[in-house]
């Protein structure tokens, strides 16, 4: 289990400053949520963290080591990401076997067959799915494969970029339960982006509310039901979400 410390993360695309001085700490084994409206920079935080975007200011430490100081293989085995859209995150011409073995080959791991079978069992898919192609899988199954791909390198930190928002409600629950079970079994640290406070309430111990590239407040899960936020924007966001739930 490793902690994640983000200090003064900043990034600008041209003139627009997308992230401004983002700081937060995630305890080892914690699930930390990032919520906010569209365009508030939630996903950008994850992309910076994983060095998918490399030109940004500030520092990120995972388990005490800066991500920039890690060699690529070490970084890959420390943090992995699950993307929002399971339809776009699996290569359409790669079978599940190719998708999973690619990680193992690149990182020079052995026992491919055992590892692939293990990880498929972990995410609750039958082993004969190895020879299927993405178009032969449902959305929930695809997302399980995407999670399996993230798990196969046995990372310490999993970045979840709205892992359920592209899925049906019943499938959402399945995937969330799967993620919760995996965390309990393997002790991952999660950083989860979501715009659904119900999901955050279900999964995360603490969460940060983001607005226009800034973290306005960091709250514990317990603040959701009674709307215990002090910042006006966070109050408004939680209030709106509670009202929506009541209306549904």
């Amino acid at each position: 289990m490793k902690s994640v410390n983000v200090r003064n993360m900043e990034i600008a695309f041209g003139e627009t400053r997308v992230l401004k001085d983002v700081c937060f700490d995630v305890e080892p084994g914690e699930c930390f949520g990032l919520v906010g409206e569209s365009g508030s920079g939630k996903s950008t935080v994850l992309r910076c963290l994983s060095l998918l975007l490399s030109v940004w200011g500030g520092e990120v430490k995972i388990g005490g080591t800066s991500v920039r100081d890690m060699a690529t293989p070490e970084r890959c085995r420390t943090l992995q990401m699950v993307f929002q859209d399971p339809y776009g995150s699996l290569h359409p011409r790669h079978s599940v076997r190719t998708t999973l073995s690619e990680s193992l080959i690149v990182n020079r791991l052995d026992n491919h067959q055992e590892r692939m079978e293990q990880v498929l069992t972990d995410v609750g898919l039958p082993i004969d799915f190895l020879d299927r192609y993405p178009h032969q899988l449902s959305g929930g199954q695809r997302q399980r494969v995407a999670i399996a791909r993230a798990l196969i390198l046995e990372p310490d930190v999993l970045l979840l970029d709205e892992p359920t928002s592209a899925l049906d409600v019943s499938v959402q629950a399945e995937i969330l339960n799967l993620l919760a079970r995996l965390r309990a079994e393997k002790g991952f640290t999660y950083i989860m982006v979501s715009h659904d406070l119900a999901v955050v309430d279900h999964m995360c111990e603490r969460f940060a509310v983001m607005q226009a590239g800034r973290i306005v407040e960091i709250l514990p899960r317990e603040a959701i039901p009674g709307n215990g936020a002090t910042d006006p924007y966070a109050r408004e966001l939680i209030g709106a979400s509670l009202e929506y739930e009541r209306a549904v």
């Binding site: 890959c76 990401m81 993307f83 290569h91 359409p92 790669h94 690619e102 690149v106 020879d131 791909r149």
Partner: protein
Amino acid sequence: MTMTDASQRPARETVKRVPQSLIALRNILTFLLKSPTSAFGLLVLAVLLSGAALAPLLATHDPYAQDLQSALQAPSMAHFFGTDELGRDIYSRILYGSRITLTFITLVSVIVGPIGLLVGTVAGYFGGRIDTVLMRITDIFLSFPSLILSLAFVAALGPSLNNAIIAISLTAWPPIARLARAETLTFRSADYIAAARLQGASSGRIIWRSIVPMCLPSVLIRLTLNMATVILTAAGLGFLGLGAQPPLPEWGAMIATGRRYMIDSWWTVTFPGLAILCVSLAFNLLGDGLRDALDPKQMNRR
């Protein structure tokens, strides 16, 4: 129990995975055969291939044997397509000429496809300065008319079949590169590329394993459509005396020499011309058919 499981599995995989590509190939073939135009393309291609392979069996005469006694004879049972000014059997020459044509298009495609793919995917994936440099080079090659550029190359290197192949390859790769770059640009920000980067794959590996398979169908289609142009350019170079040299039975060169006797002996140019027409038409139709067969939107049905 688990031991037998693990030892049996690899054997089953190899049995299972080879047919996967064969099934895809069969599906594409049946799709092509369904539409009459691409079926015609396939048919002509099959005739061309078998003609080239079985030329010694099918030919009635030696394509190089001169017989001045029977020069410029009209088509008859002895000479299906007549004879040329040196008494050589045109039917046999066309059969042997199909070998030259096939060599031509295969070599040009084999040279042009990888170069175009490489330049296009590298430019598209890296973007920025690399993209600018590679694309400006491509632009320079594109801004010349291809026949004129091939003429210049052949003039510099000396007329021969191999030089004609090199010259045509040099002018045929830029459209492929542009196409591959355009395709790459649409995939490079996809999540599965980001995922591959997070898996620790190097840029070369991402290009080869993730991007090239996505570009391949459209590049293949483009190559097939290109073959028609290549055949025409090769015939053009041959006609101008800059491609295959006599006595090689190259179709373009046959038209060039037959031109002088065209008025009295129509068969000297008609049959090589028809051969060029049929084959380039066939490749065009086949390319069109392939475009429908390999359309990514229809891939899901297979």
